[in-house]
Each structure stands twice: as structure tokens, then as C-alpha cells.
């Protein structure tokens, strides 16, 4: 026998799923949300997405070069970060600010920690949190969906010159919008004016809000797709949503005039987007089965508490970031029980 054979360590079979494949599928799951967002808000959102994707890619290339790492663009994770960031921003967010946020996402949120697999927090939310602190006015300036002419002209604030504050859009809105809708989001309406937006409007994305948080239905579909393909742990979004409802329900039962009903909590703001696409970020969530439930419930509960009692209308971003930071601790306290240990004779 004249055969040259190789020496390898077992196992000699390999499941074909790879990291780039998982990441690519997350991008696929996000595409309908993106498409709807562009359809609802028009050119501005398209430009916003192009800006974040381009900036994120360039930042990643820059940091890979600086740290002498091979380019990691092929794993697609950077595209997810870029898309998620764009989806959390207001549709008319100035592009230069979006570029800054995108740079921070990749640079501070990811590259400085060592790239994919080493980031402590969800990179997109790191960028979003930076933008929230740095550009408080721009990030709370909303414009309503389905404006006429959204495919031919951009929201004026989008093209704010670099390093300038956004151009106010109230006058522009009054001019464009036939029925004079205010740009207020369902969360703000509820918190400050006790006006509850009907759930079906939020489900189908007929309200103001961030570029991607408006259609809960498409977000859910994306989540179901990923769960079925086992590329996302369905327990995380479920736990987040359950946590949010469980904390919200008692307050609503006590005073339904002042506090929102659980369904409203579920479908308003960024909770759905955060639960399905951000809290479920594999890298920044626990790996242990018990830890995953604790992590999800914590994020959901904290979101509701921030919404009800904090100064901000939305709490999902900080809740997820805090959950991310806690997840190593959660993991270490929820190690799985070894087969056969503990209970005997089950």
C-alpha cells in the first residue's frame, strides 16, 4: 500500500454551519425590516443605512490594518452591526452624526476589545449610546412614516453639514404633511400625554419611531426564521418580552390610566427590535441555558422600569447594554449541572 495519510484529531466529521453563515443569515433576516423601513421613510433611511454600512466597513478595515489582523469583513458581522445601528436611529438623523456613531460602534464597541467574539457589549448599541449622549436633540427628532414625496426628497435634517446641529424639521413637516401628524413616537405620546397608540398600528409599522423599530411583525418574522434555522436562541427574545410584560402588568392593573397596558409595552418602541436582534447577539449573551433566561428576563424587566420611571421614553438600549455587561457573571453563576450530578434516580 503506497498511501500517504494524514494525522488528525477526532472528530473527523464536521457540521457544515460556520460563523460567516450564521452572520449572513442574520443579515437575511434583517433585510425585510430594512426594506420596510426604506419603504416607510424613503430616501433618508436608505442614505442612513449606506452611511453606517460604509463607515463600519472602513473602520473595521482601518483597525484590522492597525492591529495587523487579517480582514474580518468576510464574516459579515460588521454588516449586522451597521444595519442594526441604522435601524435604531431616527429616520432623519444627520448623516455625519450617523457616521460618527458607526465609527464608535466598530472602534469602541468591537475592535478595541479584539474583534468578533471578544466584544463585551453589542457594538451597534455602543454606537447608539454614544449618539444618545452626544447628539441628544437629533436623536429624539422623529418624523412620521409614509410622507408624500419621501422617495424624491430627503428629510432636511439628513443632510445637515458636518459638525452642525440638525436643521429643525418642524416647518418642513408642516409643509409636507397633509394631515399634520406630529412626529411624536407612541412611547412619547403615552408617557407625556397618556395617548395610547393602537397595537395594530405598531404591529404594521404605521407610527413614528426609529428607522427599524416600527414594524413589529417583520421583526418577529426575521426572528422566527433565525430560530427555525437554529441561528438564534429563541429563548432570549421570548425571555425579554416576557420580562417586559411581567413587570409592566402589575402597574397597569393598579392604575390603567397612568401606566401603559402590557400589549402596548410589547409592541412599542425598540423592544421588539432589541429583543429579537440585539439582546440575542450571541457574543454578548450568556451561553448557559439557565443564564439565558435570567439575562432575557432582566433585560425585559429593566426596559419596562426605565420606560415607566426613567426620564427617557425608551429603555431597551440601556437595558441590553447592562445585560451584556452582566452576562459573564450570569454565566458563571448558572453553570449547567453535570449529567448525573445532583438529583439521583430521576
Amino acid at each position: 500500500m503506497n498511501i500517504k495519510t494524514n494525522l488528525r484529531s477526532s472528530p473527523h466529521l464536521k457540521q457544515p454551519v460556520t460563523v460567516p453563515q450564521i452572520m449572513r443569515n442574520v443579515v437575511y433576516a434583517l433585510l425585510p425590516v430594512c426594506a420596510f423601513s426604506i419603504y416607510a421613510f424613503g430616501l433618508s433611511v436608505l442614505l442612513l443605512m449606506l452611511t453606517t454600512v460604509l463607515t463600519c466597513i472602513l473602520t473595521e478595515l482601518l483597525f484590522c490594518r492597525l492591529s495587523n489582523r487579517p480582514s474580518t469583513l468576510s464574516d459579515w458581522s460588521i454588516v449586522i452591526t451597521a444595519i442594526l445601528l441604522a435601524l435604531t436611529l431616527p429616520p432623519g438623523f444627520p448623516l455625519w452624526m450617523a457616521a460618527v456613531a458607526a465609527f464608535i460602534s466598530v472602534a469602541l464597541g468591537k475592535s478595541l476589545f479584539g474583534g468578533l467574539g471578544y466584544n463585551v457589549m453589542n457594538p451597534a448599541l455602543v454606537g447608539r449610546a454614544f449618539a444618545q449622549a452626544a447628539f441628544p436633540v437629533a436623536i429624539t427628532t422623529w418624523s412620521p412614516p409614509f410622507l408624500e414625496g419621501r422617495f424624491t426628497e430627503v428629510i432636511p435634517s439628513t443632510l445637515t453639514p458636518a459638525f452642525m446641529q440638525p436643521i429643525p424639521i418642524a416647518d418642513w413637516l408642516a409643509k409636507t404633511s397633509t394631515d399634520a401628524v406630529s412626529g411624536a413616537t407612541p412611547l412619547a405620546l403615552q408617557k407625556f400625554e397618556q395617548i395610547t397608540t393602537p397595537v395594530n398600528e405598531m404591529l404594521f409599522g404605521l407610527t413614528s419611531g426609529s428607522a427599524g423599530e416600527t414594524s413589529a411583525l417583520l421583526i418577529l418574522l426575521g426572528g422566527i426564521y433565525l430560530s427555525v434555522r437554529k441561528m438564534m436562541n429563541w429563548r432570549i427574545p421570548v425571555a425579554v418580552l416576557v420580562g417586559a410584560v411581567v413587570v409592566a402588568a402589575p402597574f397597569w392593573l393598579m392604575d390603567s390610566g397612568r401606566y401603559p397596558d402590557p400589549l402596548f409595552v410589547l409592541f412599542s418602541g425598540g423592544l421588539m427590535l432589541g429583543a429579537v436582534f440585539m439582546a440575542s447577539d450571541m457574543v454578548a449573551s450568556p451561553v448557559t441555558p439557565k443564564g439565558i433566561w435570567i439575562y432575557g428576563l432582566f433585560i425585559g424587566g429593566l426596559t419596562t422600569i426605565i420606560r415607566l420611571f426613567g426620564g427617557l421614553t425608551e429603555g431597551v438600549m440601556y437595558a441590553i447594554l447592562l445585560g451584556n455587561v452582566l452576562s459573564p457573571i450570569i454565566s458563571s453563576y448558572t453553570q449547567p449541572t453535570v449529567f448525573g450530578a445532583g438529583r439521583k434516580h430521576e
Binding site: I3, N6, K14, T18, V287, V338, F339, G340
Partner: protein, 444 residues
């Protein structure tokens, strides 16, 4: 979470069994030389009974057991002892072996007999007869069978579990044995359970071998002692602890033997050979080996004399010229060999040959762990391979055992199999275990 009839977690690799599961067992001719290692079993190596130049007949004992955890060896063919010296083994280091030059016209008939009346033997005599046969766990464990028949006295064994799972992809030798020799299997079960003093035996068979399960059920209609239980096809269903959980719902605690929950586990191949050998007082001189994989043109289930060189197997199975990987055992837990003159031993259930670029040999480079949790959901022992892997890659070996139960890992490979980052987790764990062993040995 605690589903009946199977264990939690595990993986579903493609099983590739249709390549050989329809092929009857065929006898393989003698190679020119057979190499019989004195240690093909766990425990002390046996002591040679023959001298260089001595003639032996097929079936004659050529080495005797050296203590309780040791078994004898028998001549797989008639011939002359050519040497007793260090020879290469599949595990790597050279081991003391008897080299037998086979006579050109050697017969396939076993010429050595020491008949027993099995009905008259006491349990102790059966245990002795099993040791004399040189039997070890033919499923791959190579642990002397007679030792397993004498569990620690503080454990009361009430059930025998017969392992017919054969959960490794490609392997079909146990499947064919159950189909072709069910009577020997049932005889073996009865004798060994009598020696063990148990009145209950369960044959666990994965549901990708329903024909074998049906064949056995037909012979066991109304049998009060032996029952057949079909379990879902899932890797590693054939692991001792997993199978006990699947068929009896009992869980063996970490670090404990199956006898601690009243169970003894035997492989179908082991019991079938015992059913055949014991009445004649003969020893293990051959075994069924599945030779399969894309690298051979004539895959099959071959009855191979112990000591046959792997290169001879490759020749008989017509290995393709571009074959580039030879796995001893199955593809999940088996090991590759580069020295093709190593012999077939008692515990070798299969040989899988890969060719060209299929399944490697180049493994894609490992990427950072993204904590997807696939490995946590795959580990049948419910460990946290992700955490273990991170500790191993930063060489923090001690916490792996003290905090993360590394010693409960039996290296089934499920975690490496599912890892989307291609991290060689099991390989990390083997390295960690051996480093820890070395440090303990050095008194550090």
C-alpha cells in the same frame, strides 16, 4: 426537558451506514504476518507462552493473563512465531507484540478446543471461562469483560444493558452481527447474565437498525428475561451512561461506574462472540471490522483475524490511490494512523478511509468563540465546552477540572462537531487532561 427513551443533548451527524449495512459479513484471508500486541486491553499486558521459532495452531493460547485485570492472547492462524518484540501500534507508541508468520496453506478452521458444558458451570467458572477466552469490550473500550462481570460487592447489579446502538457513523459491524447471529447473541446474554446474577436484560438498538431489532424481537417473543428496546438515533447514544439513561431512565453520577445504579453494560459484538466461543473454550482470534468511507472501492463488513496489518485491510478493500486519511474506529471518536503496518486489535470496530479533499484533511482555521452555545446544547454530559475551551486556550488547566468538570468529558466530539468557529475543542481537552496528568505525576 427529560425526554423518555433517550438522553438530553447530543448531535445528529450523517450516518453513512447505507454504504455497508446491506453487506453480509465476509471472511478476510490471512495476511502473511500477524502482529498480536500483548496489551490490546486495558490493564496489564499478557505474558507470552511461546518462544521464537515455535509452531502454533489456530486458536492455541500464545500468551497468558498477568493478573486479574489482564487477558490471554490466542494464535489467530497456524504458523510459526517469528519474533516477540516492540512493534508499532495504532495508539502511537510501540508495544511488545508477538509476530506470527502464517503458513501458506493455513486453514480457517479453529484447531484448538477445550469444551465446557455451559449449563453446569457455576458463575465463578463462567467468569473464568470468559477471562480464558481473552474477551474484552469489542465496542472499542477494550476493557476485560470478566472484570465487568464482577462489580464491586457494595453495588447490587439487577439489569444487564446490551449495547446495540452503534452510534458512530459508517460502522455497521454490530448491525450485521445482530442480523446474522442473533442466536449466539441471545446465548451470550443468558450465560453472562447468569454469571452476573441478574434476571433482566435490555438490548438497546438505535432506530436506524429496525431490521435487527425486529429479528431479535421475533426470537424473544414471550421472553421474560430479555427485551429489545428501540432508542432514537442520536450520537452518542452508544455511550454507556447515555444508553443507561435512555433504556432505564437511570443516571450514573459523575465518577461512578454503571454498577452504582445496578447496571452492567456489554456490547453486542462481545456477547455474540462469547455465545459462540464459550462452549468450545476458545479464544478471541478474529472480529468483524467495518471498512468503509469514500477512500475504498470495496467497503464491507469483514471478519478479520486479530493482528492483520491495516495495510492488508486497505489492500483487500481496494483503497483508492488518493486515499489520504485512515481512521481506526469511527469518524467521531476514532484516531487517524499514518503508519499502515499497525495491526487490527480486538477493540477495533471499524476503519474509515477518506480520499482527496473530502472532509479535509485541511481543517479550516479556528475562529474566535462567538458563544453561540451550540456546544453547550450538544454536550451529552451537560458540561460547558465553550468555557472549557476558553480556559484551555489560555492554558488555565486547573480550573477546568476543579470548576468545570473536565474529567466527566469522555471525548465524544459532539462539541467540536457543532462548533461553527471550527475550534478543536476535544483536542484542547485531551491536551488539558494530559497536562494535568503529567503535573500530578510530577507532584506539582
Amino acid at each position: 426537558m427529560f425526554s423518555a427513551n433517550t438522553f438530553d443533548h447530543g448531535v445528529h451527524p450523517p450516518d453513512y451506514k447505507s454504504v455497508t449495512n446491506g453487506l453480509p459479513i465476509r471472511r478476510m484471508p490471512f495476511a502473511e504476518r500477524l502482529i498480536i500486541p500483548l496489551a490490546q486491553h486495558t490493564g496489564k499486558p499478557s505474558t507470552p507462552l511461546v518462544k521464537v521459532g515455535q509452531e502454533v495452531v489456530r486458536g492455541q493460547p500464545i500468551a497468558e493473563s498477568n493478573g486479574f485485570v489482564s487477558v490471554p492472547q490466542h494464535a489467530p492462524a497456524s504458523g510459526v512465531i517469528e519474533a516477540i518484540q516492540l512493534m508499532p501500534s495504532a495508539r502511537g507508541p510501540k508495544v511488545e507484540s508477538i509476530v506470527l508468520k502464517v503458513y501458506g496453506a493455513a486453514t480457517q478452521q479453529t484447531l484448538y478446543d477445550n469444551p465446557h458444558n455451559m449449563d453446569k458451570l457455576t458463575p465463578e467458572q463462567i467468569v473464568q471461562a470468559v477471562q480464558d477466552s481473552g474477551m474484552v469490550g469489542l465496542g472499542g473500550a477494550a476493557f476485560p469483560t470478566h472484570v465487568k462481570m464482577q462489580p464491586p460487592p457494595e453495588h447490587k447489579v439487577d439489569t444487564m444493558v446490551v449495547n446495540g446502538c452503534e452510534c458512530e457513523p459508517y460502522l455497521t459491524c454490530d448491525h450485521r452481527i445482530m442480523l446474522e447471529q442473533p442466536h449466539n447473541l441471545i446465548r451470550g446474554i443468558r450465560w453472562i447474565s447468569r454469571a452476573l446474577g441478574v434476571d433482566q436484560a435490555v438490548i438497546g438498538i438505535e432506530d436506524n437498525k429496525l431490521d435487527a431489532a425486529e429479528a431479535l424481537k421475533k426470537l424473544l417473543v414471550d421472553d421474560k428475561q430479555i427485551r429489545v428496546q428501540v432508542v432514537p438515533t442520536k450520537y452518542p447514544q452508544g455511550a454507556e451512561k447515555m444508553l443507561i439513561k435512555s433504556v432505564l431512565g437511570r443516571k450514573v453520577a459523575p465518577g461512578n461506574l454503571p454498577s452504582s445504579v445496578g447496571v452492567s453494560v456489554f456490547n453486542v459484538g462481545t456477547l455474540t462472540q462469547l455465545g459462540e466461543l464459550l462452549p468450545h473454550g476458545r479464544g478471541v482470534i478474529e472480529r468483524v471490522v467495518t471498512v468503509s468511507g469514500p477512500g475504498v472501492e470495496k467497503p464491507g463488513n469483514y471478519l478479520v483475524p486479530i493482528g492483520t496489518p491495516v495495510s492488508f485491510l486497505l489492500q483487500q478493500a481496494k483503497a483508492k490511490p488518493n486515499a489520504n486519511e485512515v481512521i481506526i474506529g469511527g469518524p467521531m471518536m476514532g484516531m487517524t494512523v499514518t503508519a499502515l503496518d499497525v495491526p487490527v486489535t480486538k477493540a477495533m470496530s471499524g476503519m474509515v478511509v477518506h480520499e482527496g479533499d473530502e472532509h479535509g484533511p485541511k481543517k479550516p482555521p479556528a475562529q474566535p468563540c462567538i458563544r453561540c452555545g451550540y456546544c453547550v446544547d450538544a454536550c451529552p454530559m451537560q458540561l460547558n465546552p465553550s468555557m472549557l475551551g476558553m480556559l484551555a486556550s489560555s492554558a488555565e488547566y486547573e480550573p477546568m477540572t476543579t470548576d468545570y468538570h473536565l474529567n466527566d468529558c469522555f471525548e465524544c466530539g459532539s462539541c467540536s462537531y457543532v462548533c461553527p468557529s471550527n475550534i478543536p475543542l476535544v483536542q484542547y481537552f485531551r491536551i488539558a487532561k494530559s497536562v494535568i496528568r503529567d503535573r500530578a505525576g510530577a507532584g506539582l
